[in-house]
Symmetry: C2
Subunit: 216 residues, 2 copies
């Protein structure tokens, strides 16, 4: 992107920034959400939180639900792996959410209805409610205390999340994910459009952004 | 397993040992094969190389080929990720094998036809031929120089690989993988039957084996 185009908002800004693409129902996105700001600060990288819906992408791939629900051995080992990784990262013991996968529509719309500066706190709260407290994130009463803790008017925010503009914004965001060829979550996209899939690539993506990872 | 059973060969021996389950056509198994012995030595862990066939497991899951071939976005990003990781680990630049996935039957049978002490060297050689030299591992002429380098009679070894006993051993090994609920490769299985899936879990599995990873 040339300097003459800098008037247009763009993810390819000169300051180090990585887009964090996540679906609130994504299990491994929980592990990334809880630690991404710490890892980013250590490298002076800004994180742009990008909620989207995996559902339409999975449907386009021929899946009606999460691959962890489709393939039982994979699903069982994912949960055990998440338990081990939660212990490794010093996070609260993992609780398998019921139902699984959760409906993430309300949480995603709510994230797009609030001040972008608050999405990181909201995101961490929603994932903690789901994976450390076993709460159902499709219910407004799960989101209310999280919005309260951010100093927001929960009722007004949940009402704003139902606005047509927010619905359109989420659809647009999901279409952008498809355009980026995102196929799972979490996905990290660097300024130079390098795509890193999975919580295991968090550090790699941040290192890439600051030029600390070797270019093949 | 009690001491009274120690006369029977068992993977659950008291000395630290991790089973490395791999399919020769598996992309990420290449990255593990090239570094697992170094990582294991650093922790005084023995590695038991366990070649098996993913094909029957994929078929049982409803897949006719590799998920990387079924899902184009996933496949494209896997290759890019492999290129980045090869650079990170100081491995030769990755070459995408043709055809993909490769037919790994001959390589797997050959691995079971040789002295188990030589499987690690054979495995590294086969993966290098496939992913660093772009050779087709289903062809005997690809395997011949690898067997030569191990000091083996290549022609006699490839003949031995066609024996019924070897075919049965590979089928048994693949059935054991299914019994262990293995669904992909590489997979690492510790003495206490903890299952770690993926090259990204290599260090975690070894740390678990020596008690250096927290138990959830």
């Amino acid at each position: 992107m040339s300097a003459s185009q800098s008037a247009a908002p763009s993810p390819a800004s000169p300051a180090p920034a990585v887009e964090f693409w996540f679906d609130f129902a994504s299990t491994y996105s929980h592990l990334s959400a809880q630690r991404i700001e710490t890892e980013a600060r250590a490298r002076d990288v800004e994180i742009v939180w990008r909620p989207f819906l995996l559902g339409p992408i999975f449907v386009a791939q021929g899946w009606k639900t999460s691959p962890f629900a489709i393939y039982p051995n994979k699903g069982a080992n994912m949960l055990r792996d998440m338990q081990r990784l939660a212990a490794l990262h010093g996070l609260p013991p993992l609780i398998a959410p019921e139902p699984f996968p959760q409906n993430s529509l309300l949480a995603a719309r709510t994230a797009l209805a609030i001040d972008p500066a608050l999405i990181s706190g909201f995101g961490r709260g929603v994932y903690m409610a789901q994976f450390a407290e076993g709460r159902d994130i499709s219910r407004p009463e799960t989101l209310t205390p999280i919005l309260d803790a951010l100093g927001l008017d929960a009722e007004a925010t949940l009402e704003a999340a139902r606005a047509d503009g927010v619905k359109t914004a989420l659809r647009d965001q999901t279409e952008r994910a498809m355009d980026l060829r995102i196929y799972g979550a979490p996905t990290f996209v660097t300024s130079d459009r390098e795509l890193f899939w999975g919580n295991d690539r968090l550090e790699h993506a941040l290192d890439w952004e600051i030029g600390a990872a070797p270019r093949p």
